[in-house]
Amino acid sequence: MCFLKQNKTLIVFSSKGNSAKNSAFRILDNLNKETEILCLNDNFTLAQNLEFKNLILVCPTYGDEEMERRMEDFLVKSDWNNHQKKNFAICELGLYRGYLETEQGAGIIIKKYLLNKNLFFLGNLLSVDSIPLDDFSLIDKWSQEISSIL
């Protein structure tokens, strides 16, 4: 269980290889607010008494089939009742940029789910080509934009 104070940002990532992990830490580097980072490999679930203001989710996407399973478990098993009206942003990783235009990538799934839970969506959804992951400038630009509105 992890306790964070109000107005803090929490980055949650799910990574089978290292791409999502590397992206998450790159985002962390760009955020000038106090931020904590959590890996879903640790079976972390969002506790009801967890305190944060902004949530950034970093997740691989598997195209038109489904998103990374641990992220799904995290979303479904976490209790979101105490997190209504908090902010969230999404960085998805996949075969190419632009799954967000297909309505089928992880980003869209997460966005729909958390909007249903009455959280606020922050900024544009970032879709990163992670095969290979080499466009860090895109991540930098996006996370700086997010940082400016936190």
């Binding site: 598997y62 089939e65 489904e66 479904v76 075969l95 799934i109 249903n116």
Partner: protein, 326 residues
Amino acid sequence: MDDLFIIERLKKKISSPFLYEMKGNHCISLDLSQESIFGGNFRHHSETEKEKILLLISELEYLETLDLRKNLIQKIPQSFFNLKSLRDINLGSNDLVEFPEFLLQNENLEMLFLGCNQIKSIPEKFFLLKKIKSLHLHKNCIEHLPDEFTEFKNLEVIHLYLSMIKEYPESLFNCNKIKTISFGFNEFEHLPKEIGNLSELEYLTLICTNINSLPEEFCNLKKLKATRLFKNKITSLPKNIGNLVNLEQISLYQNDLKKLPESFKNLQNLKLLNLAKNKFDYFPGEISLLSNLEWLSFHDNPHEIIQPMDSSYKVISNKYDLWKVL
């Protein structure tokens, strides 16, 4: 048990809306893939509940169409051997590790979707399903795929990308009714010249392989409408690619192309062209001659289009460096 009674019991167990179709007293179609966000209607039910639901489904012995996609099913129960009238079944995006043997008795099967599972082996008897038209085996762990596709004389659609197959099934290139085919995410070094035998082919996907060229026979695919060839190592396109007069979309994103063949300008039906992440150090003039081009991507080449050739190009998305051709 009456089929409507079974449906009512399913409704209680599943507790979310789903589609079904009755013909007389018989349920002939059932779709449990439609839960709102993550997929299947009983995806997040317990394993015990899933077993009960599958048992009920197996009592609908007149089913012709069954969609169980995205329900995280680990095993198909023996009771599914009751189902013998299936024409169309979708078991995709589950957790199956074995080919469901009950399928083999459904000799009228035309559409089989097993994509996105962990199936390791396809049985030899699989080719007894001679009426198959559409076959989805992508995203699996197939170590053994019998090479007898000539038995599938009606095959029109086959997806094999990320299936872990080590080599092309040669017999596939004799199935001359194929309209859609996909390979990808493996160590393929070439595309066989026999691809040119597939005279009805309209959609070809070959992505994330080690191939560095396409055979000249690729240019025989006169009916080809769209091809995704991204993330390979293609250094050149076949000389006569302009013969593909029906081609409307081609994605060559992330290859090693430095130039286009002169005949490329003959692709006068081309609407979408993705040449991003290649090695062009100039803007190929052939592109400007494509009179029906609507969409072009050219980012991440040594020659970046900061301001394209003339005012006929308009940025439609800065984020993805897409260019709308006016």
